[in-house]
Amino acid sequence: MPTDPFEARRTGAHRLRVVTASIGAAAVVGTGALAWSVAAPTASASTGATTGDDEVSDDSTTTSDDGQFVAPSQLPQTSSSGSPHASSGGS
């Protein structure tokens, strides 16, 4: 089949525009999806502080420790002697 070099160039340029547009669209969609995936758990974690029946405020009283466990400044140590000061079990 004969090939028109000008037609081939136009087709190639068109394909390039289509691919570029697709990549651009994918980037927009991907960025949005990423933003949603980050925002969703953040929103669900910042519960609670409401100022009206249907209004959720942004000025929650969340502290820096609110979203994580905090370890003691010193680890427990094995006790080698002495009677215990307290018992910790289920109750």
């Binding site: 519960t47 009677s83 307290a86 910790s88 289920g90």
Partner: protein
């Protein structure tokens, strides 16, 4: 010299220990008052509590005290930290198992109902204005966090008021504050909170802590018989039933007794699924399997099998 006072509250052993004996009376009085205040705010077993008033609010916004607001905020934080495995909406689930009165008054011949928890997102808390709205029919239980919060708050307040080093234990939920005694506060961890001045009833281990809190959750305690089954107070919110126990007892240490208790409770509820949360939390923990094998993680000292 350590001075101690012991009594019973909330059907638990309560102990205040202070490094300065002159601080003992003040410490005991302060803790007694706080226990009464928390009971008035959050008890499931008295009609005049703020929690009982929420049951009657039928989904309406309700004004609450700053204390109850704080207790609810702590409970909701626990639910967030554990993705709902430590959930304050298990009140109906506990009642379904017969635990709608003090545990020693539960009748064995009643029915057993599995009532999954509606979930902590059914609570809307307005901390700034001290009010809350709970979806109609949702029943709360703050047992997983209120004791530990009371221990934390009392220990800090006693040290602030007296300057003495202080240990507060409420049913084995332990908080310490101020200067520790030489060698640290010695805590015996075991399945069931016992008399520390007596010999341990079963397998145990003694560790020392100098700050923060230590808590233990166990399926060996607060158990009762209902409809021919033995059940206990640690509820899987998703089923409304006690979980299949991978761990019979879990202890944890943290900056606060609340954090320690939230993690130990979550471990019992999640069973073998707890490891990702343990890695994320990074707290020292001690886990006892159903047959008594002891595992430690997060810097808890190694020991022999219980």
């Amino acid at each position: 010299m350590i001075a101690v006072a012991d009594w019973t509250a909330w059907t638990c052993r309560v102990r205040v220990a202070v490094t300065d004996p002159a601080a003992l009376d003040s410490g005991r009085e302060l803790l007694t008052d706080l226990l009464a205040d928390v009971d008035r705010a959050a008890s499931r077993f008295r009609d005049d509590s703020e929690l009982a008033a929420l049951d009657r609010a039928d989904g309406a916004w309700t004004s609450i005290s700053p204390l109850f607001t704080e207790l609810l905020a702590v409970a909701l934080r626990a639910a967030r930290l554990t993705d709902g495995d430590v959930d304050p909406t298990v009140g109906a689930a506990l009642s379904g198992l017969g635990y709608d009165r003090n545990v020693d008054e539960i009748r064995a011949d009643g029915v057993l109902l599995a009532i999954p928890a509606p979930g902590w997102r059914s609570i809307e808390l307005d901390e700034e204005n001290c009010r809350v709205r709970v979806a109609p029919g949702v029943r709360l239980d703050l047992g997983a966090t209120a004791k530990a919060w009371t221990a934390d708050t009392a220990a800090g307040a006693i040290t602030a008021a007296t300057g003495s080093g202080c240990l507060v234990s409420i049913g084995g939920d332990i908080a310490v504050a101020g200067p520790a005694p030489a060698g640290g506060w010695r805590i015996r961890v075991e399945d069931v909170t016992g008399d520390p001045d007596a010999a341990p009833f079963g397998p145990s281990s003694v560790v020392t802590i100098r700050d923060g809190g230590l808590a233990t959750s166990s399926v060996r305690s607060r158990r009762w018989q209902r409809a021919g089954l033995w059940v206990h107070h640690l509820i899987d919110p998703h089923t409304g039933m006690p979980p299949v126990p991978a761990w019979r007892t879990v202890s944890a240490a943290a900056r606060t007794c609340v954090d320690a208790n939230v993690l130990s409770t979550a471990a019992v509820v999640r069973g073998n699924r707890i490891w990702p949360l343990l890695r994320e939390a990074g707290l020292p923990v001690r886990l006892v399997t159903a047959d008594g094998q002891v595992l430690t993680a997060g810097g808890w000292p190694e020991e022999r099998a219980a």
